[in-house]
Symmetry: C2
Subunit: 179 residues, 2 copies
């Protein structure tokens, strides 16, 4: 990560990363499929945390409440690493391939969230809709959290973002489109 921030993702080689981390290249490739994966190594931990939080919510809670609990767990986990997250976002924002990889990882989190909701008895398509809308709210909160110097806490931003989603969805019925 330090190397990516110092000299850009494209210019950094696996050999340099491995040297900085005190590893051989062979060891590096035992842990990561390629140099992009270093930036996404935390995805599975986030997934486990999120799924665990969703499973821990009272049975009576609405799907969107379970989604909120899952995202809140991610937010609480990421909060202490604000500086790291900001540097990482800067590296990702500067590289189209990394932006695509990030998109794919977020979509896979949405997929896991939908599975967790189905595990609570939420039917499709409500499970997928709630999961994807929730991840959209998370992305917006995370974007603000990593772009401001002294932002509110991430869990608070996630809560605001979900409130906004609620307000947007509640505004107006689907109109007859103008032809």
């Amino acid at each position: 990560m330090e190397l990516y921030a110092e000299r850009g993702f494209e210019q950094t080689t696996v050999a340099e990363i491995a040297r900085r981390a005190g590893l051989t290249e062979r060891t590096f490739f035992r842990h990561f499929a390629d140099k992009r994966e270093v930036l996404f190594a935390g995805t599975d931990s986030l997934r486990e945390l999120m799924v665990g939080a969703v499973a821990g919510v009272a049975d009576s809670a609405a799907p969107i409440e379970a989604v909120a609990a899952g995202l809140d767990a991610i937010g609480a986990f990421l909060q202490p690493g604000h500086d790291y997250s900001r540097r990482r976002q800067a590296v990702i924002a500067a590289n189209a391939e990394l932006r695509e990889r990030e998109l794919i990882k977020l979509a896979s989190l949405a997929g896991s969230l939908a599975v967790a909701l189905r595990g609570r008895g939420v039917a499709e398509p409500a499970a997928s809709l709630a999961a994807e809308a929730g991840l959209a709210a998370f992305r917006v909160a995370f974007e603000r959290w990593t772009s401001e110097d002294d932002p509110p806490m991430l869990p608070e931003l996630i809560g605001q973002s979900l409130d906004q989603l609620r307000a947007i969805a509640a505004a107006g019925r689907t109109p007859e489109p103008q032809r």
Copy 2:
């Protein structure tokens, strides 16, 4: 498309596609960056339609109503090509790289939708939230439309999907997560 459906995406070469279409390979590459792009050639037309429909909605309409109009325009455009869309989805579903490309194209549509909303004076983050939640609703509707033999019309499914999103978002306040 026919060739992809007949023998699978991986097994089809650009030379074969060009021959079937009566083109030289050189002409093929003048139109498409690679063989994947054949499947996504319609994205820019969909984008223009969607953005045009959003711009045509009354100024007084809520952001989610403008989103609904944009998605409805896409639905009305795709409806006559149900068979094509089903074959295309089967090809994409069978190939991880194509699924990722589809994800990226849908994200780019959400980005354009957010831009169109900002053009109507919708502030961030409401514009991005409304756009991404809307695209989630579209994906769910499209998924059902391409997976059933005799589904309701796509614009109707999109409307149902947006109604469901509204119901999900309205259910319950954000709870205190269980710790």
